[in-house]
Amino acid sequence: MTPRRKRLLAVLAILAGVGIATALAMLAFRENLLYFYNPTQVLAGDAPGGRTFRIGGMVTQGSVQRTPGSLEVRFVVTDYRNSVPVRYEGLLPDLFREGQGVVAHGRIDASGEFVADEVLAKHDENYMPPEVAESLHAPTPMQVPE
C-alpha cells in the first residue's frame, strides 16, 4: 500500500467512525431530551402524554400535604395563572418550601396529576429557577441584604 492510499483509508475510517457515532448520538439524544413546561402549558395539552418531562413553578402556599407516617407527599405547582397537582414519594430536597420555586421530573397520569420521580429545588434560597422566573414574567430576585 502506498502512503497515500494508507492515508486515504485512515481518513475514510475516521469519517465513517465519526458518522456512525454522530448518528447514534443523535438517535439517543432525541430519546433523552427532557422538555420543560409550566402549568399553563401542561393544562393546554402542550406536554407529551406518557413521556417524562419537567414541570416548574412555585409551590402554592398551604398546598403541601403529607400522608402521615408515609413518604407520600402532594403539593400544587403554580405559575400564578394555572396550577397542577403533584404527587411524589421520597425525600424532598432541603430547599423545598412552600412559596419557593421548584422543578419536578416525572409524567402526567390519567387523572391529570403529575407523578414526580424527582423533585429539585435550587441550592440558593433567594434564587428562582430561570425557567420559572421566565414563565412567571417576573425578574429574578436580587441578592441584596435588607
Binding site: A21, A25, A28, T140
Partner: protein, 649 residues
C-alpha cells in the same frame, strides 16, 4: 479604608497587566531588550498587587466588615474563621479575584522558570498571559467589583451558603482554578509559537511540565467536587452530568488529549499543529466553563451568579481570546507541517487513537451541554439532556480507549511490532477476564455483560500498567519519573474504572419512612433507626439520628446523619452519615418529620465507590511525578544531547 486599598491595588494590577501585555508583545516585535525586561518586572508587580488586593478582601472577611457588599452577602458574624477565609471565593466576585490571583501566580512561575528561553518568545508568552489578565481584571473592575461598599453598613451578614461551609468545598475552587488557569500557560506557549511560526522539540518539552501541573490540579479539583457532591448534597451520587461538572470535565478531557499529543510532538516532531490546537482548546474550554458557570445562563444546581451584563462581557472576552487564537491558528498552523512516517501499530498510532477517542468524548459532552442553550436561545423550548444519555454516550469512546490503553502503553515509537511483550499482554488479558468473572460471580453473584466488561477492562488496564515497569526493570532499562508517572496515572484510570463499574452496577438507593425502633434493609445490611436527639453546633442547631447498621445480626457501624438549621436562618441542611469501607460505603441521610413519629430516611449501599476517588488521586499523582521528571529541569545543552541520543536510539 482597607477595602479601598484593595480596590486601588486591583486597579494598579490592571494597569500592570496592560504594561505586561504591551511590553511583552511589543518588546518581542521590536526585539527591544529593555521592553522585554520591563515585561518581566510588570509580571512581578502585577502578582504583588493582585495578592495585596486578595489580601484586602480576605482581611474584610476575617474582620467581618459588613460595610462591604460582597462580605455582607457572603459572611456572617458567627461564621468560623476557616469558613470566613473560604468565603472569599464563595461567590462570583471573589472567585474572579481568586482566578486572577491564580493567573498571576502561574505567570510569575513562568517568568521565574523561563530564563533559558529565547527572550522574544518569552516576551510573547508573558504578553499573551497579560492579555488574559487584562480581561479578567477589567471584568472585575467594570461589572463585579468585590470591594463595593454597602451604605449604610449591614448590621449582620447574610451568611455563606451553608452548602459551602464544608472543607472539600472550601479547597475545591482554588485547586480547580489552578487547573483551569494553568492551561493558560500552554495556551500562551501555543499562541507565541504560532506568532513565531516555528515549533521544535524544545517547545514541546517546555510545555509538557506546565500542562501536566495544570492537569494535575484540575484532576484533584474535579475529584474534590465529586466527593463533595457525594457527601454534602445528600444525594449520594458522585457525578450528575450537571453542566457545571461538564464545564470542568471538558477542559480536563482536552488537557488529557493534550498531554498525550505533546508526547508525540516532543519525541517524534509529529502532530504539531494538532497539539497547538489542543492547547488552544483546553484553555478555551476553561474559559467557556467559567462563562457557563459565572454568567448564570445555566439551569443548574451549582450556578450561584446570575447577571446577564456579566454574561455579555465574558462572551465578548471569550470571542476575542478564542476567536483570536483560532484566527492565528488558521493563518500560521499550515507552516508547521510535520513529515515523518509511522507504522499502524506504533506508539504514535495508539496516541492518535487516544486523541480521537478523547476528542469524541469531549464533543459529545459539549453537544449535550450546549444543546439546551441553543434550543433556548432559538426559542425552541426549554430542554435538558438527561444523565442516561451522557452515561451511554460516554461509554462508547471510553470502552475502546481503555482497551487500547493497555496495548498502546507497550508499543514502540515508530516501529510496528509488539513482539517483546505480546505474550505477556495475552496473559494479562486472560487474567483480567478471569478476574472479572470471579469478582462478578463470587462477590456479587451477577454476570451482566456490561458489568463484566467494566471489571475486565479495569483489571486489564491495571495489569497492563504494572507490566510496563516490570518489563523495563527486567531489561535493565532506566525507569525515569515520567515513566513511573505514566504507569501510576494509568493504574489510577483502571482503579477508577473498577470503582465506577462497581457502584454503577450494584448500588442501592432507597427512601424509607421510619420511626424510632423500626428498621429497613438494603444490600444485605439492616439499618435500625435506634434514637433521635437534638444537637447544637457553633452556628447551627438540629437533630441527629442514630442508625445502627448490622449484617447477619452483627453490628457493623453506627451512622449519625443530621438535619441542621443554621442560626442565620434559611433552609435546613442535611448532613449525611457515611461509613467508609474498602468494599462499600454505607450512607444514611435524614429527611423530614413525616408525622406519627416517622422520619423520611434515605439509605444507600455504594459498593467500591472509594476507588473512583482513589483512582483520581493516583491519576493526579502520576501527573505530578511526570511533571517533576529530571528531563524537564536539565540545562538546555545537556537536554539537546539527550534528545538527539533518544531520537537516534
Amino acid at each position: 479604608m482597607i477595602p479601598e486599598l484593595g480596590h486601588f491595588a486591583l486597579i494598579v494590577a490592571f494597569l500592570l497587566s496592560v504594561a505586561q501585555a504591551v511590553f511583552g508583545l511589543g518588546g518581542a516585535a521590536r526585539r527591544d531588550g529593555a521592553w522585554l525586561a520591563a515585561a518581566g518586572s510588570a509580571v512581578v508587580g502585577q502578582f504583588v498587587f493582585v495578592a495585596l488586593s486578595f489580601g484586602a478582601l480576605t482581611w474584610a472577611f476575617v474582620e467581618r466588615d459588613f460595610s462591604v457588599l460582597y462580605v455582607a452577602t457572603n459572611s456572617h458574624s458567627e461564621l468560623p474563621l476557616f469558613y470566613r477565609v473560604a468565603a472569599v471565593w464563595g461567590a462570583h466576585e471573589g472567585s474572579l479575584l481568586l482566578w486572577s490571583l491564580c493567573l498571576a501566580g502561574w505567570t510569575l512561575g513562568v517568568v521565574a522558570a523561563s530564563r533559558s528561553l529565547d527572550a522574544p518568545f518569552r516576551g510573547r508568552v508573558i504578553g499573551i498571559l497579560g492579555i488574559i489578565s487584562i480581561g479578567f481584571q477589567l471584568f472585575m473592575l467594570a461589572t463585579s467589583n468585590p470591594f463595593t461598599r454597602l451604605v449604610p453598613a449591614a448590621p449582620e451578614g447574610l451568611d455563606l451558603n451553608p452548602l459551602l461551609q464544608d472543607f472539600a468545598l472550601a479547597v475545591h475552587p482554588p485547586i480547580l482554578y489552578l487547573g483551569y488557569v494553568g492551561f493558560a500557560v500552554a495556551f500562551a506557549f501555543a499562541c507565541a509559537t504560532l506568532i513565531e511560526g516555528r515549533l521544535d522539540a524544545a517547545w514541546a518539552r517546555w510545555t509538557r511540565p506546565w500542562t501536566l501541573a495544570a492537569w494535575m490540579f484540575l484532576t484533584i479539583g474535579i475529584a474534590l467536587g465529586s466527593w463533595w457532591a457525594y457527601y454534602e448534597l445528600g444525594w449520594g451520587g458522585w457525578w450528575f452530568w450537571d453542566p457545571v461538572e461538564n464545564a470542568s470535565f471538558m477542559p480536563w478531557l482536552a488537557g488529557t488529549a493534550l498531554i498525550h499529543s505533546l508526547a508525540v510532538t516532543e519525541k517524534r516532531g509529529l502532530f504539531k499543529s494538532w497539539t497547538l490546537l489542543l492547547a488552544v482548546a483546553a484553555f478555551s474550554l476553561s474559559l467557556l466553563g467559567t462563562f457557563l458557570v459565572r454568567s448564570g445562563i445555566l439551569i443548574s444546581v451549582h450556578a450561584f451568579a446570575t447577571d446577564p451584563a456579566r454574561g455579555a462581557f465574558i462572551l465578548a472576552f471569550l470571542g476575542i481570546v478564542i476567536g483570536g487564537a483560532l484566527v492565528l491558528y488558521a493563518w500560521r498552523a499550515p507552516r508547521l507541517a510535520s513529515s515523518a512516517s509511522f507504522e499502524p501499530t506504533s506508539r504514535e498510532s495508539f496516541l492518535l487513537l487516544n486523541n480521537a477517542l478523547l476528542v469524541a468524548a469531549l464533543s459529545l459532552i459539549l453537544l449535550g451541554t450546549l444543546y439546551p442553550l441553543f434550543m433556548d436561545a432559538l426559542e425552541l423550548g426549554k430542554v435538558t439532556v438527561g444523565a442516561p444519555w451522557f452515561n451511554l454516550m460516554f461509554l462508547v469512546p471510553m470502552l475502546p480507549l481503555l482497551l487500547l490503553l493497555g496495548i498502546g502503553m507497550h508499543a514502540a515509537w515508530k516501529r510496528g511490532h509488539l513482539l517483546t511483550v505480546r505474550s505477556r499482554l495475552w496473559i494479562a488479558a486472560g487474567c483480567a477476564i478471569a478476574g472479572a468473572l470471579l469478582i462478578g460471580a463470587l462477590a456479587y453473584a451477577d454476570l451482566r455483560p456490561i458489568t463484566t466488561l467494566g471489571f475486565a477492562l479495569a483489571l486489564w488496564v491495571m495489569l497492563s500498567s504494572l507490566l510496563m515497569p516490570l518489563a523495563r526493570l527486567r531489561a535493565r532499562q532506566p525507569l525515569p519519573a515520567a515513566v513511573v508517572g505514566m504507569v501510576v496515572a494509568h493504574f489510577g484510570v483502571g482503579l477508577a474504572t473498577f470503582g465506577i463499574t462497581g457502584v454503577q452496577s450494584f448500588k442501592v438507593e432507597k427512601d424509607f419512612a421510619l420511626a424510632v425502633g423500626e428498621a429497613a434493609s438494603i444490600g444485605g445490611y439492616d439499618f435500625r433507626f435506634s434514637a433521635l436527639r437534638d444537637v447544637r453546633g457553633a452556628n447551627f442547631t438540629g437533630v441527629e439520628a442514630d442508625i445502627l447498621v448490622s449484617r447477619d445480626g452483627e453490628k457493623v457501624t453506627m451512622l449519625q446523619p443530621q438535619k441542621r438549621l443554621y442560626n442565620s436562618g434559611g433552609n435546613p441542611m442535611t448532613e449525611a452519615g457515611i461509613e467508609v469501607g474498602p468494599t462499600r460505603d454505607l450512607f444514611a441521610a435524614l429527611g423530614d418529620n413525616l408525622g406519627e413519629g416517622r422520619w423520611s430516611v434515605r439509605l444507600q449501599y455504594k459498593p467500591l465507590i472509594r476507588y473512583i476517588w482513589l483512582g483520581a488521586i493516583l491519576v493526579a499523582f502520576g501527573g505530578l511525578l511526570a511533571a517533576l521528571d529530571r528531563r524537564y529541569r536539565l540545562p538546555a545543552r545537556a537536554r539537546d544531547a539527550q534528545t538527539s541520543a533518544a531520537t537516534a536510539s
